[in-house]
Amino acid sequence: MADTMQTTTKSTTSVGTGQAEGNLLSRFFRATEIDTRMLGMIGALLIIWVGFHILTGGLFLTPRNLWNLSVQTASVAVMATGMVLVIVTRNIDLSVGSILGFTGMIMGVLQARLLPEMLGFNHPAIWLITLCAGLLIGGLIGTLHGAIIAFLSVPSFIVTLGGLLVWRGATWFVTSGQTVAPMDANFRLMGGGTEGSIGATWSWIVGILACLAIVAAIINARRQRKRFHFPRRPVWAEYVLVALGCAIVLGAVWIANQYYWPVNIARRYAEANNIAWPEGGLFISQGIAVPVLMAIAVGIVMTFIATRLRFGRYVFAIGGNPEAAELAGIKTRWVTVKIFALMGVLCAIAAAISTARLNAATNAQGELDELYTIAAAVIGGTSLAGGMGSIAGAMLGALVMQSLQSGMVLLGIDTPFQRIVVGMVLVVAVWLDTVYRAKAK
């Protein structure tokens, strides 16, 4: 208490004496415009990571575990980006796990049974046709849900609760409960694994392109603000942001490249390509996994949609005040339909990732994923009261959830107990967020 009193008096006196004094930390955050809430989440994530690292005796923060963590997060992270828009408009989607199961099963049957008969086994077009069909079906299911919610005025909770049962049942119906395997070889790349990663060179190329994009985005934003004579960030703050962004990107690439192919696979590869087996083993970097790249791409596209397009602006306006949005002339019902259609498409992408990873489509695929997806969005700062949320936050939320699970698996904690912990963490996270928001007001 005394601390805060001191800083406030200091900052009031510093107004007269100049900008040099004052709270250095708060000045830093104001200048860089970094979201402190997001920073808190990253802090929590780091605590979880370091905590598990110590508890597991150094098993958690290894390239291998982090790489696996990134692959495991991808599917839920993809769906969480859509769940943000759903929750922001004061809706909920309980059917995402079932849509994932159904589209996954359809894609499984297409690529493992129907298409090989028509095109031949492992035909190069199979994965693409399969994926497109999955996206289409996911989109149609979402559109149906959205239309019922928007035009028949049935609450989204009920519509998607129905959808949860209907599509899970439909998943079973497609093959009478049989598991479909194996998946097409090209399709399987979407699941990660040794083949489904892009290797060291390409990982570095992707990393460097990302860094260039960060620099370009910051320069562009600055130029725009200059053109209209708006207040700008101090130059040092821009440099800090660039350095921070690039360090995170390149650090992640470096870690992904530190994870090498398993010895057996490397040996087989060496034999197949007539490479002499060197002393101490052959180290081939996995690099970034394809599903992770897909999730990042989805995150970027969804952020673009949410912040740069009219549609995204409408989503947030509807969440903030549905009546005002309606009176401003926004076609709120169509926006709702589009949100759920988008959610359906994202479920299909997640289904592709998860069936490819499992190398099978089962009728239990995606069970409970709706809850993990909602939890990820909510932990990531999406307010169930509507109007607030960010795509990046939700993806980070998915990472937090997956980190907890992965860490508990490493610790050898039983599955029932894992659920108890995840459930409690969800409640505590939302409570902390409520406290934060109350203070921010």
Partner: protein, 261 residues
Amino acid sequence: MTEPTNPLVEMKNISISFGGIHAVENASVDLFPGEVVALLGHNGAGKSTLIKILSGAYKRDAGDILINGEQADIRNPRDAKKFGIETIYQTLAVADNVDAAANLYLGRELQTKWGTLDDVAMEANTREVMGRLNPNFKRFKEPVKALSGGQRQSVAIARAILFDARILIMDEPTAALGPQETAQVGDLIKQLKREGIGIFLISHDIHDVFDLADRVFVMKNGKVVGHARTEDVTKDEVLGMIILGKVPPGATPGPGAMKVA
């Protein structure tokens, strides 16, 4: 200006009912360019409902709306905006989780040639309009939720001005404001009036609007009691119209006037 100009808005014999209750029955009002018309009545008298028909929020059951003497087909808020009708609502004015610029352009966002939001241009225009309206307004980057009542109201008014409204509807525009902010809104109304904009002021408090208005329409139980030029009647007489439905000699009686035995 020798011959009387056409009315800007004419609402003729408007009726609407909700589940058997006649919220508005056979009501007619009109508005001329550069005129301020106050619509008075108790809560539930039907004035807000009548005006929401004009702004497209409700669909009328019967009656005609004429804009500049021509039939206007207003079915939703977008239609109303096409006729230059802008509405400032008492409570539902803004989406308070987005910033001022986003609210000003809500539903009519400026886009770049790529089809993305041109936030910079929108913010620039917002700064210009708000600078004219309320020079003290500085919080462009914050959600509207963080603003005071007066600031929020000026955002709502700026929105109407930005799109060259010809007909402005203000539903209890000063209800949430302090005395100084109320005076500001009053000045603003006079300024808009000079520009030839027709303004409907809706209020249940006669003191808010009597001095600003050129004419008053009084509603009671969904019907128009009568209308009068403010120079022909006193505040007390108008109060009598609001409370009892008694029409003074200076006013023209409507369908809702008290029957004199």
